[in-house]
């Protein structure tokens, strides 16, 4: 189906089901239960999951296929966001032109940076991209403030000269982003017994774009172009002596992944029209590297898993505080309760960085192939067990 083989089609369908049903899947706990803290099915976080998924999928096209480790990809995300917000300020609150512009501008930006940086390889390439991104961040934060609004980030104001649209709505507020009138923030809430599920228009736009982006990335992986990129990673010398010019291949991969980043940035601004300079900082670039490696570099679905993993920790673990802990363990006797809270305390709330750091190390040490490898191991183990239980062959894992 869709020009994909069975395995890829199955994976695409799995991703489609997961993203489209995310409001259910991510909200497994009843709203009133203590475990509701772990629910991630609210619009903002779901949007972040898929947007960073797109970012990581794009990054993987460069890093996973060619092996070129860019440490400056956040710059493209930032440029995409700025373009989109400017589009909202100047043209219209419709997200389509904003997203298109952000993809185009970040593509151009990637073309320039890639053209220069790809003259070098290995860590020299990484440092070049890092240098460009840090320059962009530093300048955006300070001297480019007229364009970027520096520290605060580029925001919409009540007096934006919007050509197609109004500066302010009748009731004196800033208009909201929309897709031909469908407001990105509009949310439909479904309450089923103790559960509440939120279906957000913006999320579904992001999800559909993620599916498109994911589909495109599968096509690229399976195409002759993708094969060439893997060949670049494997042996550049042989490429050159086989009559292939590696530079346009790597540059094309760089630009494509830059455009993915720009798309993610544009979507981020479309969901929440603010573009902060921190989006371009090296730590943000590092984050997408971590997402990709953590999930499994070079695998199709790995980066999406990695993105979800990191964003989940950032948003869920950082919000757990001692009060929440006490409410979880309130069934225990006082002394033990306090002790348990005391033990867990360093790892939650302000300690979420610590937890994440430990998990990075555990994953890298024990699962060199990232989360995907973990999934495969579990699947293998399950298969074995199932094989023991019955003669029927186990289901193959979707986590390739």
């Amino acid at each position: 189906m869709f020009g994909l083989d069975n395995k890829d089609t199955r994976m695409l369908l799995v991703v489609a089901v997961l993203t489209l049903c995310a409001p259910f899947i991510l909200n497994p706990f009843p709203t009133d239960s203590a475990m509701a803290q772990f629910n991630a099915g609210y619009p903002d976080l779901m949007q972040r999951f898929v947007i960073f998924g797109i970012f990581a999928v794009g990054f993987n096209i460069l890093f996973g296929l060619t092996g070129y480790l860019s440490f400056g990809h956040a710059a493209f995300l930032g440029v995409g966001s700025y373009s989109a917000v400017w589009m909202f300020k100047l043209l219209s609150m419709n997200v389509v032109p904003a997203i298109l512009l952000s993809v185009v501008i970040s593509g151009l930006f990637a073309l320039v940076i890639g053209f220069v940086s790809l003259r070098r390889s290995g860590i020299y390439f990484s440092i070049l991209t890092l240098a460009f991104a840090q320059m962009s961040f530093n300048l955006a934060y300070s001297v480019l403030t007229p364009i970027t609004n520096g520290e605060t980030g580029l925001q919409l104001t009540l007096d934006d000269p919007r050509i197609l649209g109004v500066s302010a709505t009748a009731d004196g507020s800033i208009p909201v982003t929309s897709l031909f009138g469908l407001e990105m923030r509009s949310t439909f809430e479904m309450v089923v017994g103790p559960w509440a599920f939120q279906f957000n228009a913006g999320y579904y736009l992001c999800a559909l774009i993620l599916l498109a982006a994911f589909y495109l990335s599968i096509r690229i992986f399976r195409s002759p172009f993708g094969m060439m990129l893997r060949a670049v990673k494997s042996n550049q010398q042989r490429m050159n002596y086989t009559g292939l010019n590696t530079k346009p291949y790597t540059l094309a991969a760089f630009v494509i992944s830059g455009m993915y980043a720009g798309l993610a940035g544009g979507l981020m601004a479309s969901m929440d029209p603010l573009a902060g300079a921190e989006r371009m900082q090296w730590t943000a670039s590092g984050e997408v590297v971590l997402m990709t490696i953590l999930g499994g570099a070079g695998t199709l679905i790995g980066p999406v898993l990695g993105a979800g993993f990191i964003k989940y920790f950032e948003n869920i673990f950082s919000k757990i505080n001692d009060n929440v802990l006490h409410s979880w363990f309130s069934f225990m006797p006082d002394g033990i309760e306090d002790f348990v809270v005391f033990i867990i305390h360093p790892f939650i709330g302000k300690g979420w960085h610590l937890t994440l750091g430990i998990l990075f190390m555990l994953v890298v040490v024990f699962l060199p192939g990232g989360l995907v490898e973990g999934g495969q191991r579990i699947a293998k183990w399950a298969k074995k067990r199932k094989g023991k239980d019955s003669a029927t062959p186990g289901k193959t894992t979707p986590a390739e």
Binding site: G226, M227, L244, Y249
Partner: protein, 251 residues
């Protein structure tokens, strides 16, 4: 007039004159061996032919066109394929994929943004690669990871990859270096087969006299960066200068 004409080529590295004044003519559809003791400049000469090095003086013409100043991939596209001393293949890719890449290079040129259609949909390339694998007797290994093969098989694959581009000139850089006797003999047989079955010119740099004398139609002996003699194998065998410079260096 040979297919490859090397005229007055010289190359210096700092104080070292690696190539003095090399003249060489490789006739079409022959096997031309370049031999010489270590440090004679064989590899430097080869690198000048494929664009890795640019000679300081002289000219290199392939089929009437100068190769100087061209990038390796451009020279390859002109019709020169190179086999390396240690097999250079795409270790992370499968054998079949390894074979498909040169086929794509042949079909689409140095760069093609062929990003949407699936590889498996490219029937022409797929067929050609499969056929080449058959010819190389490697069809059964098509899904193997190339890096996991034996050295002899890697060599075979590399030669196959070069051949699938249908080059007019095949350059071999010590193709049997470091190989066991059996593998060496296999490689010799393979090259003989290629020589017999294809319209192809082969230039071979080799240390192993057994290989040279089993294959070459013509031999150039290089010593200290300059050609000592160029002659037929039987004459080389008896040439005292060659013995002195090369074969007899230990005598």
């Amino acid at each position: 007039m040979g297919i490859l004409e090397v005229k007055n080529v010289g190359k210096r590295f700092g104080g070292l004159q690696a190539l003095g004044d090399v003249n060489l003519s490789v006739k079409e559809n022959t096997v031309h061996a370049i031999i010489g003791p270590n440090g004679a400049g064989k590899s430097t000469l080869l690198n000048c032919l494929v664009g890795k090095l640019i000679p300081d003086t002289g000219s290199v013409m392939f089929d009437g066109q100068s190769v100087l100043g061209r990038k390796p991939y451009e020279i390859n596209q002109m019709g020169i394929s190179r086999v390396f001393q240690t097999p250079e293949i795409f270790g992370d890719l499968s054998v079949l994929e390894n074979m498909m890449i040169p086929c794509f290079a042949k079909r689409d040129g140095a760069f093609a943004l062929n990003a949407i259609p699936a590889v498996l949909g490219q029937k022409d390339v797929l067929e050609k690669a499969e056929q080449m694998l058959e010819e190389m007797n490697m069809a059964d290994k098509r899904h193997m990871n190339a890096a996991s093969m034996s050295r002899g098989d890697k060599r075979r694959l590399e030669i196959g990859m070069c051949l699938s581009q249908e080059p007019r000139l095949l350059l071999l850089d010590e193709p049997t270096a470091g190989m066991a006797r059996a593998d060496t003999n296999n490689t010799i047989d393979l090259l003989k087969e290629i020589k017999e079955q294809r319209d192809i010119t082969i230039a071979i740099i080799e240390h192993d006299m057994h290989v040279v004398f089993s294959l070459a139609d013509r031999i150039t002996v290089l010593a200290q960066g300059t050609p000592l003699v160029e002659d037929d194998p039987q004459n080389i065998r008896g040439n005292p200068k060659v013995r002195e410079a090369y074969l007899g260096e230990s005598a």
